[in-house]
């Protein structure tokens, strides 16, 4: 894992409020409406947001390249804000005008245990085997991720 020196990381720019961070401040009840487009030049992703993402999505931003790529992806998506959507209802799905098909309550599937278990790396007596529960995430201070390494 390549480790950026602290100085270089600082120079790369840090948090700015109103950027991608605000999209994650989940107001779940609002119905996923996008925030107002951020002002100014491309926003940088804050360390707090990255740590939050690492915890949630269980990813590990291996190195600066990973973070850069994320940054670029966000910038790319930000282009959407250039479209004026005032007064337009967000579309959830291209199916919105279709009828939701209702199926009769008949048993038509199942009984394919063998086929399903073929995909699993490890099985025990027809159960899938998974690691225990939710492995409690190691405390942030003890993490050895890139982000921590760069602090």
């Amino acid at each position: 894992m390549r480790v950026l020196s602290l100085g270089r990381w600082l120079r790369a720019g840090l948090v700015l409020p109103g950027g991608p961070a605000s999209r994650h401040s989940g107001d779940r009840h609002s119905g996923h409406r996008p925030q107002a487009p951020p002002q100014g030049p491309a926003q940088k992703v804050s360390v707090e947001v990255l740590e939050h993402l690492e915890q949630l999505a269980l990813v590990d931003f291996r190195d600066s390249e990973g973070v850069e790529r994320l940054q670029k992806a966000i910038q790319f998506a930000d282009q959407l804000h250039e479209v004026n959507t005032d007064g337009v209802e967000p579309m959830d799905s291209v199916l919105e005008d279709r009828c939701l098909y209702l199926r009769e309550d008949d048993v038509t599937e199942g009984n394919c245990t063998k086929e399903l278990l073929e995909n699993a790396r490890e099985t025990v007596e027809e159960y899938f085997v998974a690691p225990p529960g939710n492995i409690p995430l190691v405390k942030l201070e003890e993490q050895k991720t890139y982000l921590q390494g760069s602090k």
Binding site: L102, V129, P132
Partner: protein, 567 residues
């Protein structure tokens, strides 16, 4: 009757006792142990909690809200065609969609929608004619897709209410009706089951349950103690079973309840709430809620704070413990389910003309076909038979008592039995009800039987009660006969009476002779009676009963004795 007593006693009294053993310190100056009487004061069934006692501290108001997941009773799952069944070989009831293999899509089951509509109508909800599906993301081994399809933005129904009855004062003589508001009802998928093998640090996953349809009922925090929560859930269970939308047997995981508990001082904003999970029966629900309320009061009383956390109820210890898995706030990253268009429901007015009937769900059509709800049934029983409301309540409550393990608990078990007996006997319903609720019910409970499994049929009981009514046997003898009938040897009451010689003595002379003999043998008692102590008469009546081996009519005996003693 007995059922109510158990519920009330176990609900609140028990937890205080246990909590007293567990907790080293108690709130308030003087540290007095929590007495049963004080419990009645902390949560006043008349509405909200009141004073915390004589300690002079500001009162605490507990606030309890419930989130209930009811498994929909259907043949197949919510979005796939695999079978819904409780016990089956692991991973045998799983389709490719349930295992979330790529290339599979959800297809909504009509029956599940109907079940949700029925439930919403029974709970007086406003049905959203257009509701939407969303994805709720989180990681867990039993959620193969990494998300659950639910209805977070616009659920199928909102703003309903559930009315339930509660005994106040532990006397079972006064029932009060309370209401809890239903915030919303939504359709969602169930997850699979995980079996943890801690020794080998692994989890076994069975996806049979993954994708089964659930109705999530979110209640507003209108309750204030474990007893109310238990009563509300009981009533909901009855309603769901009556509708048939869910079998709602907690023991089989068809009804899961999570409680949100907080406390605050009057006039102040609501306190931090904790969520209590892993509650496996209604009895435990009451215990868990009461324990958590008490824990929070104690914690705050000692100057601590309450964390917004999820706790699990440990039924063995009778307390709640923090759940490791749920540290930190979850971000579910809700997003619309892109594979499902909105769910549109119709009513008589908006019914489209040219659509295939199978594709249309008509709310009004469902409304017309709703069965009588428990509250309506109870009123009918009271009106028709003149029994007390609390008796009517017990008749309908018992079929899914917390101690009943049977998943075959039938709908009108006890009420049906009662009505059947009433039809076949001359005894008045008001007297019959005593035999049903006291004698029959206690036998059934002792042997953990359902009404259907009772060795004493309604016909036999009616026969017995007729003998009693015709005064051919005494009520003591009747109880004796019932005990014999219980053995299920196929004898009729009359045969049993003859076999054990339990008929009432009809010969007046013989009775008089026995009475005289008793009087002659009990000089002291006779003197006491003549001196004015009437209670001793009962002893003499008892002696006559003994001599006649229970075959004398106590009323007649009393008359005879009194006559003789006054001579």
């Amino acid at each position: 009757m007995a059922a109510m007593a158990t519920m009330v006693a176990a609900g609140c009294g028990g937890v205080w006792c246990r909590a007293r053993q567990r907790c080293a310190r108690w709130p308030g100056p003087g540290s007095r142990p929590f007495l049963r009487a004080q419990r009645a004061v902390v949560c006043n069934a008349r509405g909200g909690a009141v004073s915390a006692g004589k300690s002079g501290l500001a009162p605490w108001i507990p606030v309890v809200g419930l989130e209930i997941h009811a498994q929909i009773s259907s043949n197949s799952k919510l979005f796939s065609g695999s079978r819904v069944q409780f016990a089956a070989p692991p991973n045998s009831l799983v389709s490719f969609f349930d295992a979330s293999l790529p290339g599979t899509l959800p297809v909504l089951n009509r029956r599940c929608v109907e079940a949700a509509v029925m439930t919403a109508l029974a709970l007086n909800c406003r049905i959203n004619k257009k509701s939407l599906f969303d994805r709720k993301h989180y990681f867990y081994a039993d959620l193969p897709a990494g998300y659950q399809i639910t209805q977070q933005r616009v659920p199928i129904a909102v703003n309903g209410s559930l009315s339930y009855s509660l005994c106040i004062d532990n006397k079972m003589s006064q029932m009060v009706t309370k209401t809890v508001r239903i915030k919303q009802i939504q359709l969602e998928q169930d997850s699979g089951k995980s079996l943890h093998d801690d020794t080998r640090s692994q989890t076994f996953v069975d996806l049979n349950r993954a994708g089964v349809g659930l109705m999530e009922l979110v209640m507003e925090p209108d309750m204030c103690c474990g007893e109310e929560a238990a009563a509300a859930v009981r009533e909901l269970q009855l309603i769901l079973q009556t509708l048939g939308s869910s079998q709602a047997v907690m023991a089989e995981g068809q009804l899961r309840v999570d409680a949100n508990v907080s406390v605050h001082h009057p006039g102040e904003p609501y306190g931090v709430r904790t969520e209590v999970k892993n509650i496996n029966s209604i009895r435990f629900l009451a215990k868990a809620v009461d324990y958590e309320i008490q824990r929070q009061i104690q914690e705050l009383g000692n100057g601590g704070t309450i964390l917004n956390e999820t706790r699990a109820f440990d039924s063995k210890l009778g307390c709640t413990v923090p759940m490791r898995d749920k540290e930190g706030k979850q971000d579910y990253r809700f997003m619309p389910e892109p594979n499902l268009p909105p769910l549109i429901l119709y009513d008589a007015k908006s019914l489209p003309a040219n659509m295939n009937h199978q594709q249309v769900i008509n709310i009004d059509w469902i409304h017309e076909r709703l069965p009588d709800l428990p509250s309506v049934k109870r009123e009918k029983l009271v009106e028709q038979y003149g029994i007390l409301p609390e008796h009517s309540f017990t008749l309908l409550v018992w079929q899914q008592d917390q101690n009943c393990n049977s998943s075959q608990a039938s709908e009108d078990g006890l009420a049906e039995f009662f009505e059947s007996v009433v039809k076949q006997t001359q005894m008045k319903p008001k007297k019959v009800i005593g035999w049903i609720l006291n004698d029959l019910l206690s036998y059934l409970k002792q042997h953990s039987l359902t009404v259907k499994e009772s060795p004493v049929s309604s016909f036999l009981l009616a026969d017995l009660l007729n003998l009693l009514e015709k005064k051919e046997i005494s009520s003591t003898a009747a109880k004796r006969v019932l005990a014999e009938l219980w053995k299920g040897e196929g004898k009729t009451p009359l045969e049993t009476v003859k076999e054990h010689k339990l008929e009432l003595l009809q010969d007046q002379k013989e009775l008089e002779q026995i009475c005289q003999a008793v009087i002659d043998g009990q000089e002291n008692e006779v003197m006491a009676i003549k001196a004015g102590n009437r209670k001793v008469l009962n002893k003499l009546i008892g002696l006559v009963q003994k001599k006649t081996q229970g075959r004398s009519n106590p009323v007649l005996v009393k008359q005879l004795l009194e006559k003789k003693l006054s001579e």
